[in-house]
Subunit: 259 residues, 4 copies
């Protein structure tokens, strides 16, 4: 399947630097290792090579991890280490309907959109119009627009527009203020994830979830460390991100019936 | 959509212990908090409650994380922290064709199968018939059989039966011995992941990948730690898994053309 | 310098198991690899071998790390990873006078005593007589009794008996309640360490320290992971302690003078 | 005990930045928060305040941790997290005689010197004269010169000048080449530590130690993470050092006698 105009491509240079670009006819990409003419990219297969002015360049279909890491960002973005666990624990699949509260730069939005194809939908809310605009651009760039609807959130604690959703993700400073409208929007048994940097937020969120009848409530943090692998000189890298956020998960349960 | 006979259900007791069961008519599940009659489960909605002899029980649709953690195992299984990153970095989606070398207990097999729906397929190889049988059972239990084909591997280094695959995962002790047949089976640009517990394996695998023209080669380890969250007593848990394996990723590239 | 009756010895068996014993004449030590007659130990040099009924046994002078790990314990003990940092940050040396609040099993007590020799002294307080008795025994066993005085603490917040101390360590559930008597006991510039398992304790302690004029307040946690090192099979160990406690450090400062 | 000319002082500014200085009469220290005239420091007590041109400044006696972190460095230095464990596991105390192979910038040298007072001695070797000169300066600055002798090492594998030493530390790229001369220099039962960044070094060192009759051989890595502690906003810091080196420990044993 050749690359068409408008498709997203990961251009990989010989030093393993990569660029996420949309293959617009007539456009050129300036890199530190030569210029890539996107007219030379359109019509080639993913996995094939294109010329730059200085070296051959590999054309790749971006993975979800690369899409996440390459979003244009005005906020801290979700890290793949965290996104991977969130996707596993939300129970998403083709056709799932997901609520996102706190769109931010849209990194997690596109991960969710990617996971509900085909037939599913992400409803993503943010208080700030500029974040919604940025996320819309990030989602569109990777071709996932059909699976996302963006909404401006007028204020915390207000009802969402949707019902019977399968899952929800929160990336907001006071997620406990959204629990009541969330209960209205989720179907019984729906799964929830909340991402929060401080232990204070975690404690307040977990306490609120428990009081509100959520079950299987658990919190974790995920760390990752890259290795330098060279023959005879293999070692963990010195640099490491020490903390992004704590992940809290839960399942929505209605009141148990009297036995 | 009510639970039908043959569907998989996560039964959650009031102490947050869970059981993954298939809703077979006439069968009963013995738990430490009473007996669940599966006839009482069939016909109810996911997210609703069923009675045990002692307490009401929540019926949940299992998430991918729960499916992984609940496989019947004869081997070490992939951990969700690692599976999440692998799925993100393999570039899977509806329709993807994936090779798995080293089926083991099938935990990663079902994660892959879950990620290529609809229309995709996992081709999973193992040297041991008993592992293939166990994995077939684990995959079937969660309703993903249509997306997996199992094959007995006769020996390392032999050709696989497939061509132009989109991705491959290796969980074998000497993954470098599979690189040549892998190159034959993968399409240019395909992504690869290898899971290995020792530094020595990582070093030999990475060196072989680099010599064989793979690009974007990187290795990492992922750690996770759960928190005890209680009002005024929130802390990391004392128990933590210190190591599962290192994850190596790469992309398959043909020889670059002469400029 | 040969081992004398009453000296402490680390007996190391050929499988690297070790026993910390006091060389009492006439006593025998039963191990899983034979019986050690302590009469065969007395008079030999540290670093030499003694017989058991089954194999030769190496006689070692215990390191501080081994003394800590071998205390008889009724409580959680300090881990060497934490003790090492505490000793480095308390500014101890020959002649230092140190306060310990929360003796526990005495593991940290003996580490402090070890670090103030010669001429220094540890004043260790606990609310429980049984802990003081156990710690006295642990400290005496390793020959450090001359450097420790134990006191029963009647209640939190009461004055300590000493003045102008060089450093203090707290291992109690509500360390902030001891700040005022601590200020009375410490000399200006004295260093303080507090060990606490929960985030909540850390937050309350740090806030109290800042309000009380302490400076250089910082909190950290230390993790350690052992490696399996075998030719061609080197890897981190699967088991790891995920959390012991957070370490908070500070320096005591009087009110700054008006400029 | 007032600060005298030539004493080392940690000057702490109101923003918790610190400077390690020697109190030379007539000298001035330029900081981002004003100038400190060392004549105003001499004669004051540790723990008291001195004026700068802009704010009062606290005068502290530096802890061992601060001495380590403040060495003038031309090499990577030992981190306190690692130094703390090394000191605990070397069995040092007043009077110990220690060998250091690989002086580097002298950070560990001064930690060793600090731990053998009074009466002990560190014999520190390096191949490079410039490192020896730098370390001599760093050790002298903190007043520990009487406890260290520096030697130029002519080449790996040559005999050291000393016998019957109590402990040794190696921080060199090929520590296994020093095992034979080390065995000649150490007393039976002496403890050894080796610091190495790669797993390849660790594997070769551990194998050599085992073949050479060393016992209690173990390898570990130590991680540490600082916390931001603020009321209602407490969290691990985002920045973290991912790796410094692996620590290998062992005890020197002569050949066991025939039973």
């Amino acid at each position: 399947m050749p690359i068409e105009a408008g498709d997203v491509v990961l251009i990989r240079l010989t030093d393993d630097h990569t660029f996420l670009v949309v293959a617009h006819a007539g456009k050129k990409i300036q890199t530190h290792r030569g210029i890539v003419n996107l007219d030379d990219v359109i019509g080639r297969e993913y996995g094939s090579w294109a010329p730059t002015t200085r070296e051959p360049t590999l054309l790749l279909r971006p993975t979800l991890e690369e899409m996440i890491m390459k979003v244009k960002r005005q906020t801290t973005i979700i890290y793949p280490k965290d996104a991977g666990m969130i996707l596993l624990k939300l129970g998403l699949g083709p056709g799932s309907q997901v609520l996102e509260v706190g769109t931010g730069s849209g990194a997690l939005t596109l991960a969710l959109a990617h996971s509900v194809r085909p037939g599913g939908r992400v409803y993503s809310y943010d208080l700030r119009e500029d974040f919604l605009a940025l996320s819309r651009e990030n989602v569109e760039r990777v071709g996932l627009s059909d699976h996302v609807e963006f909404f401006r959130r007028d204020g915390q604690g207000q009802l969402f527009r949707h019902k019977s959703l399968d899952a929800a993700v929160l990336d907001v400073p006071e997620p406990w203020k959204e629990i009541e409208p969330l209960r209205e929007a989720l179907r019984p048994g729906a799964r929830l994830a909340s991402l929060n940097p401080t232990y204070n937020q975690v404690e307040q969120m977990v306490e609120t979830l428990r009081r509100s009848g959520f079950v299987l409530v658990e919190t974790m943090e995920i760390l990752y460390r890259r290795l330098q692998v060279l023959e005879g000189r293999t070692r963990p890298l010195q640099h490491m991100v020490g903390h992004t956020g704590f992940l809290t998960f839960a399942a929505c349960a209605g009141a148990p019936p009297a036995l």
